[in-house]
Every structure is written in C-alpha cells, then in structure tokens.
Amino acid sequence: MTITIISYAILSLGLYFWIWGTLPILNKEHSIFYKLHTLTVADSVGSLLIVVALFLRAPQYWPLLLVTAISLSLWNTIFSYILGNISDRPS
C-alpha cells in the first residue's frame, strides 16, 4: 500500500515535470536554449521519475527499466548537446 502511494506520488511528479518542461516549446518568446533546459526537465528528469515509479510498481522488470533509464539519460543529454552546439555556432 505504502509503495503504491509512493509510486503514484513519484509518477505524478514525473508527469508534472513532463508537462512543465514541454509547454515552453509553444512559447515563441523563449530562446532555443531555454527550451532545451526545460526539455531536460521533461525528458530526463520527468521520464526518469516515471521509470522509478514503474520500478516500484513492477520490480521484476528492473533490468529493462535500468536499460531504459540509462538509454534515456544518454540520448537526452547527447541530443541536448548536439542541438545546443548547432544553435551556438558562430555565424
């Protein structure tokens, strides 16, 4: 019961980070760099929290969830760096 409540709390926080991090993409006033920062909140932190919540609910799938967490972290970080690098090229 306690684990279920904790997993729901973490899942909700992850979903909140997802929504908060994704919405600024629609705002034209923000720079691409700020959008990349907020996307880190959504893609990296939000997704990882959701994976942690799933681990609490189904611990038997820990190897797959661990691979997912590592892949998400690496993919999101490298993609942020690539987009940041492209946006910051001296003209």
Partner: protein, 147 residues
Amino acid sequence: MANFTRLILVLLFRITCWCLVTSSVETTNLLIGLIVCLLIPFGDFRRLKMHALIPEILLILRLPYDMIKECFELMLISDPIDKFTEERVNIRATSGSKFAEFFDLFRITFTPMSLVTRRENSDVWRVHLVASASEMEAKVKSKESEK
C-alpha cells in the same frame, strides 16, 4: 598485468550490458553473451585510463540530487534570460581519456540548469545557463551604485 585487468573490465562491462538487455543470467545466455562480447572488436583497450575514469563515474552518483534540485531552481525563474559562461574542463578529462571527457560533458549537460554548447579550447567548455533577468538587473545596479 595492467592490460589484462583492462581487458577483463571491458569484458565484464560488455557481459553486464548483455545480461541487462537480455534480462537473463542463465548459463546458456551467459555463454552466448561471452561469445558475442569476444567477437566484437576490442579497440585500443590498452589506453583505457582507469584512474581518470573511476572518479568521474563516482561523481555521476551525485547527479540525481543535483538534477531534482536544479529542476526546482529552473522552475522558480519567472523571467529567464540566456547567460553564457566558461567552465574549466575537469583535470582528469584533460589527461587524454576520451571517456573521462565524455563523462565531464555528460555531468554538466545532464542537469537542467547547465548545458554545454561547445568546447572553446582544450581546457574550457562553453556552458549555457539560465539566469533571472530581474536578478541580473539588480546585480548590475548594485555594482553601478558601488562605483
């Protein structure tokens, strides 16, 4: 002996990845994994610098705390502006270890408040940060009043 240790570590890393991806530690699966790991080219594992790599990997353990903390810091900024700074490349990353360099970049970019955009030179990363416009203005004003 040192090269043999490096080779064993590379093999262990590959077998761990194999077991994680296949979600199995059965003997047959381990044997297939071992064959696959031995078939993949080893590259230049002799240049693997463990003394540079291990501290970098240990520093990654601190990331979950920084990640959550910086998320809330970013959320509290209501008037964001772009700010570029220069950050020194970690001394271990400058010792010639490509993996240590990668982990240094990974540590900075993974957290929401900082983002490496490029490498200025061999010693410096160009890092993008998010600052609050009102706070920056207040700082400039206080500096001007000091003068």
